[in-house]
Amino acid sequence: MPAKIKDYVSNLYGNKKFETDDLKFEHQEEIYLPVFTWKMRYLGEFCAILALLGLVIWSALNLPIREVLAVSLAIVVVVVAFFLIWLEKKNTSSRQLTVIAALIALGVAGRAAFFMFPQFKPVGAIVIISGAILGPEVGFIVGSMTMLISNIFFAQGPWTPWQMIAFGLIGFIVGLLTHAKILKPTRLSLCWFGFVSIIIIYGGIMNPASVLMYTSEINWRLILAAYISGAPMDLVHAIATIFFLWFLSKPIIKKLSRIQYLIS
């Protein structure tokens, strides 16, 4: 029995004077702040991804281009499969599962709602916020599954695996940075991260991927040309991500921290 109520009972039945002030409970809105716990597992996963990236670069320098394509597609499959198997083997509660599914559906619906504007999509914002609060692995799963499912709704193509790995890595890296307490999940810093990650990670995967698929040789000039030709689209995408993060990050982070408290 809480001390306050104990006092109240003893006041009521004892000879002491009745004090009403004790009964006043001040109503306060509970504010849940996001909790970040660092695990060494994240570092291992990050190092593994870096090693696989090194393997891709090594193969790009040494192997013919079609074998580079085969190697990088195999690596994409391995990375996506790793995170899916992680979720499969992890002892998740049903709340975690449904919340992840709802975040994926939000991304898909957001992509569907803005179908008339090419590249002006809120997917990046939703992936970044969910990765920042719920952890790198969840961020990866939300990012990659959002792209897979929205491509089932619209159109699959040779771009599906690259989009999956690109958004997955954005979600993973933002989770890594926030959980290592390098990046604070404030509105401004998330906007910065959104811009940089879309230009560097998304553009840095999609543009070399188009070089890999459609040219007969891989060299720096080709990648640079692909990057420059893709720059306007990347810029629109990055600005869209900033726009959505600026307006959505505050309410969504507030709600998602409460959800994080509920599902953990």
Binding site: T98, A102, A105, F153, A155, Q156, T215, A225, L248, K255
Partner: protein
């Protein structure tokens, strides 16, 4: 979409077929294979949709991509032994680069046309089936999110109407107010979605989620016909891969064009690989044609028996 037998096959057969065909077309790059792949991809896309649609799609989306690929390859790559034009900076546009660009462009066209039929054949239930077969929890995750999308869109429309009724709509007023209202609605919707997710998880908990090993509901039965089809696909792909290993389908464009069967001598594996890839790529079309033939035969049988019955009745009436 029209009636198609390949769509009714088991998801494993569908995935195996597209994996084999797309893999062969993307990585072998032999002109024979690409030509067969192109023809059968377009033929199958036409049977599933219509000739007009396929043609329009190719002109709108594939042709510009093809032109870009054709232009980029000779400009940026200068390997090869037969220079056609020497540029001012010492580099030259070579025949090999143009040919390789043509091959890569046709790979692009082939892949795009296969994806036209893939998008109609591999529906979301097949993805849930094939992923849930290996990872049941991920299958559940996918089906949950597939369910969430229409629920979310429904509720979003409702919320827009409700907010409009308290003059916070997104269709009238100044642009800034409308934008503000739109983001307010999005915030509401996020809360609603999370609430729905927790409701569903509570329902799952009440129905004993996590107490047993998870299995997925599978409406598709992997029966004898599917086994036969999968075996055929496996054997044909095996033959194509074997002919690739025996240099029957060898194709190299850098620095010299070496294509077995065209510029260098081919062997028996060239013919074998080409024929088996031809059968493999046309398997869905073959199934479609067989299905249609069977359908017509059955219809003819029905009309025949009806005619027989009528003539029999006529004889009876006559007597």
């Amino acid at each position: 979409m029209k009636r198609d037998l390949f769509k009714n096959c088991h998801p494993i057969v569908n995935f195996a077929f597209y994996f084999a065909v797309l893999g062969c077309s993307m990585f072998i790059m032999h002109p024979f294979i690409l030509a067969i792949s192109l023809i059968s991809a377009i033929a199958y896309a036409v049977t599933l949709t219509s000739a007009k649609q396929v043609l329009l799609f190719n002109f709108k989306f594939t042709l510009p991509g093809l032109l870009v690929v054709l232009a980029i390859n000779p400009i940026f790559t200068h390997y090869g032994v037969t220079p056609l034009v020497t540029l001012s900076n010492g580099n030259s546009i070579t025949l090999e680069a143009i040919v390789y660009g043509l091959v890569l462009g046709s790979v692009l066209v082939v892949a795009t046309n296969w994806f036209t039929s893939l998008n109609l054949i591999l529906t979301h239930d097949k993805f849930i089936d094939i992923i849930g077969r290996i990872l049941p929890k991920i299958g559940l995750l996918l089906s949950l999110s597939f369910r969430f999308v229409p629920l979310f869109i429904q509720q979003f429309k409702k919320t827009i109407v409700t907010q409009a009724s308290i003059s916070q709509g997104i269709h009238e007023g100044k642009l800034l107010t409308r934008l503000k209202n739109a983001f307010q609605i999005t915030g509401f919707m996020f809360g609603w979605t999370m609430q729905k997710a927790l409701n569903i998880s509570d329902a799952m908990q009440l129905r004993a989620y996590g107490t047993h090993k998870r299995k997925l509901y599978r409406p598709n039965v992997f029966d004898r016909r599917n086994k036969i089809l999968l075996t055929i696909i496996g054997v044909l792909t095996g033959v194509v891969i074997a002919s690739q290993f025996n240099r029957g389908l060898y194709a190299s464009y850098n620095p010299i064009i070496k294509v077995s069967g065209l510029t260098i001598a081919g062997n028996i594996w060239t013919i074998l690989g080409t024929i088996s890839f031809g059968i493999l790529a046309n398997l869905p079309l073959l199934l479609h044609v067989l299905d249609q033939l069977e359908w017509h035969r059955a219809q003819q049988k029905i009309s025949q028996s009806a005619q027989n019955r009528n003539s029999f009745l006529e004889v009876l009436n006559h007597d």
